[in-house]
Amino acid sequence: MPLLADNDAAVLRQHLQPITASVDLLLFTQAFGGSESGPIAKQVLDEIASLNDKVHVVEKNFVLDTDDRTRYGVEHAPCIVILRNGEDTRMRFLGAPMGYEFVPLVESVLLAGTGDVDLTQASIDTLARMTAPTAIKVFSTPN
């Protein structure tokens, strides 16, 4: 049974239409002994990808794909890593992106696919002074 109702899928398809770049959604899951949310995350990503030809889901094995885990710094599963034209966007999602996480995921896919960042010029100027690696974690709950 799909997670998205037909009318929601239609709205989302329209929303994702401006995408011009290839977007890969790398999904790291652990089949044995892993979280039950892995299959849910897969279904969420599959439904998003079904709405735009430029969006693709690439499954990665959290245990076996150690090179990719190292490359993208993946320490937990399920984890979604978003690529734009094969390049890391440094946007990650831990856990199944349901509830309040769903909209940020969709907006991140759109951002990766369009490259349109709507930060203020002041923010862009401030961030331009950054020279060190910076990790931002945002905790939220599905409801």
């Binding site: 999602f93 992106p97 907006e107 905790f139 709950t141």
Partner: protein, 64 residues
Amino acid sequence: MKMAFSNPHITATAVEAQEFMDLSRRYRVTGVPKTIINDTVEILGGLPEDDFVAQAFPDLTPTA
């Protein structure tokens, strides 16, 4: 997420707090949204963009 996309030094991770209880305990998450920057700066709740940038990156923000 926008900040990570626009700056190669930033990695942004959205964490589902209920599923990753070990991380929630480590970062003392008692309410959401809670933002942690470099394991040191903590911001509880949502903020307007300019306020967020000022609190998250005080060393980069010009003082008036």
